[in-house]
Amino acid sequence: MFVEDDKSIALDIKHKLKTLGYVNSIAVSSGEEAIKKVGELRPNLVLMDIFLAGKLNGVETAKYIQEKFNIPVVYMTGHTDAETLQQTKATKPYGYVFKPFTEIQLATVIETAMYRHQVEKELLEAKQWLSTTLQSIGEAVIITDKAGLITFINPTAELLTEWTRAESLGQDINEVFNIVRETNHTPTENPVIKALRKGTVIGLKNNHLLITKHNLKKPVISNAAPIKNNFNEIIGAVLVFRDMTNEKAMEQRQKLALELGRQLTMLLDSKDLLAETVNRLKNTFGYYHTHVYLFYEVGNGQAQQGSLVVSEGTGDAGDIMKKQRHHIPLNAKRSLVARAARSHRPVVVNNVTQNNSHLPNPLLPDTRSEAAIPLLLGDRLIGVLDIQHDKLRHFNAEEIRMLETVADQLSVALSNAQLFTENARRSNIIENSSDLIALIDLNNNTIIDINPAGVRMAGYHKLEDIIGLPITELCPTDKIMRFKQQVIQSEAKQNLWRGENLLRRVNGVIVPIDQTIFVIRNAQGAPHMLATIVRDITQRKQTDETLQRYAERLKILRDIDRSILTAQSSEEIAQVALKHIQKLVTCSHANVMVFDLKKATATLLASTGETKQKLKLQYQLVNMAIVESLQKGQVYSKDNLSSDSSTPFEQAIIMEGLKSYISVPLIAQGELIGALNLASDETNDFAPEHIDIAREVADSLSIAIQQTRLYKQIQQHTIELEQRVEERTTELQSFAYSVSHDLRAPLRAIQGFADALLEDYATDLDLVGQDYAKRVATAAQRMDTLIQDLLIYSRLSRDDIQLKPISLTHILGDVLTQLEVLLQDADINISQPLPDVIGHYSTLVQIVSNLVANAAKFVTPSTHPTINIWTEKRDHMVRLWVEDNGIGIAPEHQERIFRIFERLHGVETYPGTGVGLAIVQKAIVRLQGRVGVESTLGQGSKFWIELLKG
């Protein structure tokens, strides 16, 4: 842009600029217009005519533009009077060009001005950047000249030294940065002075104190560096320093925390430990309140459940909370403590008044910030350490780290203490304990310490003899080493093992022990030592073994009893007994023999061991003295078999290298039936207890064998009986067959010929003769009916009957059809429902048809027969009633009528065979039903049958 009020000159300038390549030059003619356009267009350079028409002249305009817009201005002037030049100089122009000028002159001035402006701009920016940086950095910075007088001080330095910028500028550095040694407060050479003197960087470590303007002492670290110019001359120094007050304090706290932790791990009583922790924490670090919650798990541990219970707390508030057993459920949403417990991370609230998740505790009204630190042992939550402070924003990251350190140590200490109390509560009576208590070095597995009882138990005389021995010397099994391996691998998870183990005494005798091993951890929670408590359980083991033997004895007896029940053979029973007795009585050989006293033989029933194959199946009983003693129920025992032994059995077992044996009698119902023989390859091998066991087994065995024999006899008997029944049945069947076939043939002949006589010789017979012939025919007919009925009756007991649901409707339908002729004059009323019953079709038809036929038959000649049939449900049965209006049955006869051939009337009056109701009775029994009658003489009868519901 150029400012020129002469239009012709302006045109010329524009032209020249164009020639120089500044195509877009802008021409304005007044100062006001120039300021306005510069504001809008921001040109790179302004060419300014000094004398301008209008209110503002060129100098004023240039001044405004440079100050306001920082745009370089070059004056164009025709006058070069000294006054004007003086005026323009004050505006610090970037150049002058004197009218009239050539293009070259113009170009040179413009380029120079633009370059200078660019450099100035960069320099300014750099200065501003440096200044801003120095002003704002956290480090304190002071710059001095070469004499050590202050030329710059940043706000951090002002704050630290308590010297303001105004006060300090120009001051001697020794005044403002006044330092002494931390140890003895004696002055030391100022690093700035030293740097100026030596020309090198001087650092002061953190054991120096800065004395502020108001005489406060602050620990600082500082660095002073000389500032050199291009000629390597020292022109000043820069001092950078930092306040170490907080760091110092934190360092101190960390030290305290570590110390606290170390001391805590030495406390083995949980109560002391917790009390010590909360009080020491509070006092050492100046907390408002400190308490510890311990975590108590509830349920199976998978579903995170449980409570955090205040176990220790500082001051009265702590006591009250402890007494109240103040607790927080693990799932409490807002609780700081519960959140820390759940997340396994510290939870901090630095401004409790603004945090709505904080629940104010009325006992602790001054709490402003609070931190909850979880107590963890590996992944396991032990509790929460809760710290409260009466200042806002107290807990920074450093502090939390420190508290975590304390919490970790506390966790380990607690764990150790708990283990110790759990397993060695009697630590003060370890010395007097009758149990072996020892400490084992985890590195080389040697015994570090052991109590007097332990020395005795292991069979040593002196403590020195046992200290330093590998624990494997005492406990030869790998159980301890396996536990150690688990402890090392699984870290915090495994802490205790308890079980049975073996202890080797110094004399080599091994005794059974009950052993507890637990880990003692160091401050870092790493396994440090193993402790073990050992109790000699020889006595208990012996008792156990005795009990076990008794149990075994019972088991054998039970097994033998079971064999009886399953009706196995005598051989199998004997085998079972032998199998079990070997578990109780150690013997090389056992066998069971049964005796035949008449033949004086013993037959081998079952046998065990290697001699099994070598024994004969039968031995002669030659020594009757032995047999007699056995018969009396005495056990015969031979403690030392010698070659002059009398019996073939003894000789046989001597051949097999057996040296002693016992023979236990098997006695059933007072009779000697055999013997249980146990033999050993050692002499005198059978103790009284063993003989007792053998006796018990022998007793059971006798009964079992006897039972089996009886069972077999009964079985044989049953088979014979069944055969006989079968034979009888077959006989009966062929008898019935004969009856039905052969007995009827002559009847047919009698009937047939009587009929032929009547037809063919009617003329030769008089009326009496004809009547006789008719009677012959009728008698034959009746006998046939009788035979038929008897056959039906006998068939009822012989035929197989399959029961299934039957429709009574069908049955009655069939019966009415069968009896159509007989019933043609009767009134039959059948009432629904007729439910299904369980029965057999043709059998049931027989029953019902007999009842209905009787109902129709037994009426006085003048009565019109009326029969009512209906059913009635009785529990799970159906009762079918058949009621008639007949002659009735006197009470005294009501039972008789169901017997076979029982008749109450002459055939002439009421025809019948006397078998009908007997058939009904027999048939209903086969259908698992019942039959009965209710009747009054002369007033009809009500017969009923009952069958299972279908």
Partner: protein, 148 residues
């Protein structure tokens, strides 16, 4: 060769007499040939010995078979009959005193065409033979079997 001959296997002379008399009373003209035991039935049907003369002893249209026969029981005869390729289709009616279920079932199992119980009453017998003739000889369509 259509024939009205009935072979009656029956050992009881009284029964033979009465059955023949029943046919007579019923005015039936069937020829009744009688075999007195099981073997004779087999011989007759096989055409052995005297029975080779089919003029005199023609193959019957129907066999009336008692179960209880000397030498060879009715069931044995039935079993034999049903195994003869040429004779197996000859209708066989069991006419017996036995009403035993086992007899009835066995007879049907062996291929009996009918099972009748001999009635004691002569009048019933007459009715029975009438029915037999009406059904088995006249109404029933006879099977074909080869003659020799």
């Amino acid at each position: 060769m259509a024939t009205n001959t009935i072979l009656l296997a029956e050992d009881e002379p009284n029964d033979v007499f009465l059955i023949k008399r029943a046919f007579q009373k019923a005015n039936l003209k069937n020829t009744i040939q009688v075999a007195e035991d099981g073997d004779m039935v087999v011989a007759y049907l096989s055409g052995e010995g005297q029975f080779a003369n089919r003029e005199e002893y023609p193959l019957p249209a129907l066999l009336m078979l008692d179960l209880k026969l000397p030498r060879r029981s009715g069931l044995e005869v039935l079993m034999w009959l049903k195994q003869q390729p040429n004779l197996k289709r000859l209708p066989a009616i069991i006419l017996t005193s036995s009403s035993e279920t086992s007899d009835i079932n066995q007879a049907y199992d062996l291929g009996a065409n009918s099972f009748l119980i001999k009635p004691v009453s002569f009048q019933t017998l007459v009715e029975m033979v009438k029915t037999i003739d009406a059904y088995w000889i006249n109404l029933n369509k006879r099977p074909r079997f080869r003659d020799y």
